[in-house]
Subunit: 324 residues, 2 copies
């Protein structure tokens, strides 16, 4: 296993360095200091080849997604990223793969101001586990359980792109417009964790979750934890030009937007008096945000509407096997 | 993957609950609070079936080892455990396996006062990644880099047992005494993380590492990081009755003690003026400790002695492929 230790060298240098890391990679453990008045927010996500990403996905895309899904979880709590621990399981040593993977991690560390503080490199089937730690001011966390009836339901960015991107890669969908196809595949490979949106929602949003399993399924988590219901206007779902122009059947397009996963947009609720504030604040950061519905008192029930009429998806539709 | 989410239910309840965990399992991330004047110590270790543990190892032993190796890293820094994140990759759902595994995690959480704050359960080859977070008072961490010439070199417990235990399980060694065989196998399956010893070493030890790769290899880490050398008296190595009575060839016994891994004892250095204090303090906790040598100024050099005479291991001996 000594050769695997050498791989650690790719990760020990080149990344962002934070002053609150007293001891980084290279000892039995890392030592870090949390600023006064802040809580630690911790999340762990694992990606396994063939389950969470396709075989032969580029190392840059795997690195990006592994970081993004974790930062997205921090963002959904309103936390800013600080420290990352990485466990990388590799079937064999491919130095060019490791180099590309580690350089992407370093590049993201500079962009998002996190430091890689440690981890493990082992021989085994290709998989990546990241534990991300971040900060949030005391009592500022945004949970899934605070939504209240009459709160507005909003979502950042566009929905469904990553799902279409995956279906292009697996030959389930053909998008002939090369620019659109590229955009959609990149949305699958390189999702944007909404870190700035997350910190902007502190003390404003009553609940928040990141859309990883699909809008409706993730909304179920919120209404279940908050003991409320929701009305969703499907005609309001934010759909990109690339998705809208290439998935021409409206029901198919809505199915992607409402049920496909991996978009990593933030779905959140705000009271009426905060809606204009949050829309203005996010707009000032150039973060698109759309109001797609409202919280109701009908606990556990999601009321889907299309042009004000009740709407139901066929259960066999794309992504729907995820939804119960 | 929904069925895998259900597995999370085994982990959400039954474990130790800490007051510094403001939000545990069940949201996008956990929220925790570090006490004033304390640093966070973070370590990550991954165990892969067939690499770090034998196929068909009992789930209780896998759970124990996954926790122990991480707590051992915290102990080597002088830190006390606080929070654990667990990523469990399972090839398929075996509820009795998950039940046994999770119950062992819960049992250890009560014993060591840590809380399981989150994680991930995915479908994939059997492997476990744990990120452990603990506390240490500001500026009290014990690193690998502080050993000074003339410091004494000490080790807790006995060495080599886990290596013999593994060789019994893989039919490389036969131990006919059933009680001894059972003890040695249990030392492999259920290593003891030296948490109390670690906190006792704060402000006393000049360096510390846990013996995971074998005494000599881990000592190399310390002398390399500390830019010193060491003399090791092999005749002083602490050897259990079970190992001593069953590995009758002295060189074989010493090879296990000096080069086999997975004992998870603490190897540490203390200045002359602290030696009696630490020996007394550890004795008062019933933690065996043995002085096995001394730090020298011969940077990078480990001087092995047997009955005061220079000694060399044959490079082909058990465990020696780990040692360079």
């Amino acid at each position: 296993m000594k050769e695997f230790d050498l791989i650690g060298n790719y990760f020990a240098k080149g990344g962002y360095v934070r002053k609150d890391v007293l001891l980084g990679i290279g000892d039995d453990a890392a030592v870090t200091k949390v600023p006064t008045g802040q809580c630690v927010v911790t999340t762990t996500d694992t990606l396994v080849e063939g389950v969470h990403f396709l075989a032969d996905t580029a190392p840059e895309a795997i690195a990006h997604k592994a970081i993004a899904v974790n930062l997205s979880d921090l963002a959904a709590m309103g936390a800013e990223p600080a420290w990352i621990s990485l466990s990388l399981s590799l079937p064999s040593i491919d130095e060019s793969w490791v180099k590309a993977f580690s350089e992407k991690i370093h590049s993201l560390s500079h962009y998002f101001s996190f430091q890689l503080i440690g981890g493990d490199t082992v021989q085994g089937p290709l998989s990546i586990t990241i534990t991300a730690q971040g900060f949030i001011p005391d009592d500022n966390q945004i949970t899934r359980s605070g939504a209240e009836p009459s709160d507005w339901l909003l979502v950042t960015g566009c929905l469904g792109d990553a799902g279409v991107g995956l279906d292009i890669l697996t030959d389930k969908v053909i998008v002939s417009n090369a620019e659109h196809a590229s955009y959609l595949k990149n949305r699958h490979w390189f999702p944007t964790p909404r870190v700035l949106a997350g910190t902007t929602l502190r003390r404003v949003a009553t609940s928040c979750i990141d859309v990883s399993d699909g809008l409706i399924q993730d909304l179920h988590q919120v209404i279940s934890r908050s003991e409320v219901g929701a009305i969703v206007h499907l005609d309001k779902l934010p759909i990109s030009e690339a998705l809208g122009k290439n998935i021409e059947n409206l029901t198919d397009a809505l199915t992607y937007a409402a049920t496909a996963g991996d978009d990593y947009e933030l779905l959140f609720t705000v009271p009426e008096e905060q809606r204009v504030y949050i829309e203005t604040a996010l707009a000032s950061y150039n973060i698109p945000v759309t109001c797609i519905g409202q919280i109701t008192g009908a606990a556990g029930k999601i009321d889907l509407r299309l042009d004000e009429q009740p709407f139901e998806f066929e259960s066999k539709k794309i992504g729907f096997e995820h939804f119960s």
